[in-house]
Symmetry: C2
Subunit: 238 residues, 2 copies
DNA sequence: CGGTATCCCCCGCGATACTG
DNA sequence: CAGTATCGCGGGGGATACCG
């Protein structure tokens, strides 16, 4: 009775599981193809290892994921079961709902590690030069200090680095963090931001020119905001 | 940072709200047409009034419901906003997922007050005699004592009574509570249960004969269980 | 009856340390 | 690095009383 609702109602039984903190986010990562502990963790920068561990156990018990022993080490990979895959559609719809209607972002939601993770999955490497390209991002987030990270494309494989990758930067991107996230989420127009100097690029002219085509933006950027408020106005303008 | 996830990710922003205890259940009731505090509460027998009150405030702040002052008294009615209605589909899918995959029912989930509430909404009054019909349900739920309630159909309007309604019972239904709930949820076949005497009827022959047509069963009964386990086997048999 | 305020307990969660 | 155990705290949530 602690966690449950004292109802046999299928919605209550589902909520009992999906309502736990972090649970849907963990499922989302696994369903989206993260298979290792670290991979999942990278997609959820603020989860603690103990929390992730607990949730993975619960989700396995609930039949939503399956853990497979790796052959090499004494470690696992995680995979969605049929029950887990059946949640994919629900989770996507929840995210779309969030894009449409959820509260505006607070300062604390502007996590650059998460932005780095998002972007490294949504870089249009086909449009990028062959070989290695190193993008450096430098975001002002007052009153905090600046946040930097690097995305390294190497022939179609993108690595994210929160520390200097040891390669020379090819293109430097600078912006206010909030402003950039608003752009990433589809609330502002990238071209407009570049033209007005809210986002600045430093590097060879041809990379600067090509850059807008590299950013695929958030998966949910196409869904226009419906909630009244600042971001609504922005969405209206674009 | 307390409730949030420190991510601007729309799924995280949505989860922050929908992941709170009781929240989706409250939304579900409002979206399904409960408009008053008591009505919502009747559909969530174990919620405390303070919890319901808090959630209603939160949901209003989040723009998911709107409260309207009633003209007569100093009290409100609750209605879903556009944002709330946009959750209807998600919630229904969650419930279907629950029917397919959620854990088996425990003793504690067998709340007869909730069963009464479910049934009073799903009685096929068109198939019932005109005028008043009083159904009495008497459920054994060992080792607890028996649970009784009454459903009173009065020309198409069904009232649920957890105490004796003051009318004579027209048809008495007796069963083991778990068994009946399994039937209600679609895991067992009603005709089979009646034939085998697991559910017994007492009353005029013609009411007994008509009874199976009165029960519309749970909205989710048509969705066959996919989860391995007891109920899966039952579902397979039907 | 409809709804809120208060209180307090308990356990969910996060930090941290630890182990293979 | 991959994952688990421990521990202490904070606040979410339930009971209850209360007010209109």
């Amino acid at each position: 009775m602690k966690r449950g609702y004292g109802q046999y109602c299928p919605l209550a039984l589902a909520s009992e599981l999906l309502g736990q903190r972090w649970t849907v986010l963990v499922i989302s990562r696994v369903v989206d193809g993260c298979t290792t502990f670290s991979e999942i963790r990278r997609g959820l920068p603020r989860i603690s290892p103990s929390m992730l561990s607990r949730r993975l156990v619960e989700l396995e018990d609930a039949g939503i994921i399956r853990r497979r022993k790796r052959t090499d080490r004494s470690t696992y990979t995680y995979h969605p079961t049929a029950a887990g895959k059946d949640l994919e559609d629900i989770i996507e719809k929840m995210a779309i709902w969030g894009q449409h209607w959820a509260r505006d972002m607070s300062m604390d939601d502007l996590d650059s590690a998460f932005l780095a993770w998002s972007m490294h999955l949504r870089l249009n490497t086909d449009a990028m030069p062959p070989g290695r390209t190193v993008l450096e991002f430098d975001f002002a987030n007052p009153p905090e200090e600046n946040e930097r990270f690097w995305l390294v494309n190497e022939d179609g494989h993108v690595d994210m680095c929160l520390k200097h990758p040891g390669f020379e930067t090819d293109l430097l991107v600078e912006s206010n963090l909030r402003r950039f996230v608003e752009t990433w989420r589809g609330f502002r127009d990238l071209g407009e931001e570049l033209r007005s100097g809210q986002i600045t690029l430093t590097g060879p002219r041809q990379l600067k020119r090509a850059f807008p085509a590299w950013l695929l933006l958030s998966t949910f950027a196409p869904y226009a905001r419906k909630r009244p408020g600042l971001e609504r106005q922005l969405a209206g303008r674009c």
